[in-house]
């Protein structure tokens, strides 16, 4: 089996597990909807359309970030039940394929939540983007991958910690700040049309390339840790 086939095998397994349990998607969706609805009630978006456009990018990504974190720990919990992770440690398959497969699965789960959340978000916040909307098709997948690739890695890193639910946000949030800044600014630029998102998209691409490479290279060490 080549590397891509190993990744696909892990991805297929994670999708099948999620299809049967719905643990990740249900939790994320509920959490993200809750944040969006509560914030929509907290201030009246219809009365302040300009301000709403300016902060909507931030609200969307913060809701997705926190929602994704609820799923990231869950995704590795499946591997620790029955000590399945030990079977992976003993397998001859490349360890990083397990990581890439899981990150791809998490990416698909968060994307599924985005697909449901986007129209609801648009309606609740009465959004009419003033910039080039098609650029969201670049920004959303890039931003989502930036969140899940680090999140999946640091969730694995915190697996052996007794306080892993606390440790993940403590590690993930600071390290995600550059990505968050880039994805929020890029999204805001599309919604307001006040500035070009190109620079922020480039920052996001650089972040994704650097952190994906680092996570893939370091995962074997994380998996082999005592």
């Amino acid at each position: 089996m080549n590397y891509a086939q190993h990744v696909l095998t892990h991805l297929r397994k994670d999708l099948r597990l999620e299809w049967r349990t719905k643990d990740s998607i249900n939790g994320m969706l509920f959490f993200a909807l809750l944040v969006v609805v509560v914030l929509a009630i907290a201030f009246d978006p219809a009365s302040y359309p300009t301000m709403t456009r300016q902060i909507s990018g931030g609200l969307l990504w913060v809701a997705l970030l926190f929602a994704a974190m609820t799923a990231l720990n869950q995704s590795w919990a499946r591997e620790t039940n029955n000590h399945v992770l030990d079977a992976h440690r003993l397998s001859a398959a490349p360890a990083s394929a397990l990581f890439v497969g899981k990150a791809l699965a998490n990416f698909l789960f968060v994307t599924a939540v985005e697909v449901v959340l986007a129209p609801i978000f648009t309606v609740f916040y009465n959004l009419h983007p003033l910039g080039e909307t098609w650029k969201l098709l670049i920004i959303l997948p890039l931003g989502t991958w930036a969140l899940v690739v680090n999140g999946t890695f640091f969730a694995a890193l915190s697996l052996r910690s007794r306080n892993r639910e606390t440790l993940l946000p403590l590690v993930l949030l600071p390290i995600s700040i550059p990505a968050l800044l880039a994805m929020i600014q890029a999204t805001t630029s599309v919604l307001t049309g006040e500035f070009e998102p190109t620079l922020w998209i480039k920052v996001l691409v650089a972040y994704v390339v650097v952190f994906t490479t680092a996570c893939v290279l370091l995962f074997q060490t994380i998996l082999a840790a005592d």
Binding site: K13, T21, N81, H83, D86, H88, L90
Partner: protein, 248 residues
């Protein structure tokens, strides 16, 4: 701790096999905080050995298996499997622990097809499913019988889970098979069938052409006697003896 007389005798009995040992532990100690789980254990097992490890609860049996599997590192001393570190022998070692190492949400066949795919090269999905079904059939979990094809591992009884776990490790066709109390949840009949399967497994040469090596822990020494070519005894983290007991 220096090697006991029995250990030296067992080693001296098969000088030809010592030239290519499956396992060498050299003064291995494992500490958990201030607790010493293993204390200067030295042992050499030739390829093709079938060894039953005995010892009271907390004697260090499971720790020793985890060290050999490379799932934990020794605090002192060295572990060598087929002349290399256990980490460099991934795929050649299989370990069955108290936990099943299977996904509860998948069926037995799905689990084995998945794990089988991680261990085999150039085998198609259909072929993998056939191999997985055969492995399950050999431990009495034929996926074509009754509701087993659709039944998830989480819905299995403890004994079925244990047998599915054995099927998982055998499917990877390891050169070194480590089993931690494989008979603990089985009735006598199932345990007997498991022993027969293990006897057949050890008798076959591995994919690499080496004789297969088996090391298992149990509290049921009588039951495991047919597999006990040698018996290794641990007590309070120390190697007490390694003697030939004439199994196989």
């Amino acid at each position: 701790m220096p090697m006991t007389n029995e250990v030296r005798d067992a080693a001296a009995a098969r000088p030809d096999e010592i030239a290519a040992p499956a396992l060498v532990l050299d003064r291995v100690s494992r500490l958990y905080g201030s607790f010493v789980a293993l204390r200067e254990v030295s042992v050499t097992l030739a390829a093709g050995s079938s060894v039953v490890m005995l010892g009271e609860n907390g004697a260090g049996k499971s720790t020793l298996l985890k060290l050999i599997a490379g799932l934990t590192s020794p605090s002192y001393g060295t572990v060598s499997v087929f002349g290399e570190s256990p980490d460099d022998q991934r795929g050649r070692i299989a370990y069955m622990s108290h936990a099943t190492m299977l996904y509860d949400e998948l069926t037995g066949l799905e689990n084995l097809t998945y794990f089988g795919s991680l261990h085999t090269e150039g085998v198609g999905r259909a072929e993998l499913e056939v191999q997985a079904a055969t492995a399950l059939r050999e431990v009495g979990l034929d996926p074509e019988v009754g509701s087993l094809r659709a039944r998830r591992v989480g819905e299995y009884s403890q004994g079925m889970r244990q047998r599915a776990s054995l099927a998982r490790v055998l499917l990877s066709e390891p050169d070194l098979l480590l089993l931690d109390e494989p008979f603990s949840n089985l009735d006598v009949g199932s345990a007997q069938r498991m022993i027969e399967r293990l006897l057949a497994y050890v008798a076959e040469p591995s994919r690499s052409g080496l004789a297969r090596t088996l090391l298992l822990t149990t509290h049921q020494a009588q039951l495991a006697q047919p597999l006990a070519q040698s018996t290794l005894t641990l007590s309070q983290g120390r190697l007490v003896s390694l003697i030939e007991t004439g199994g196989l």
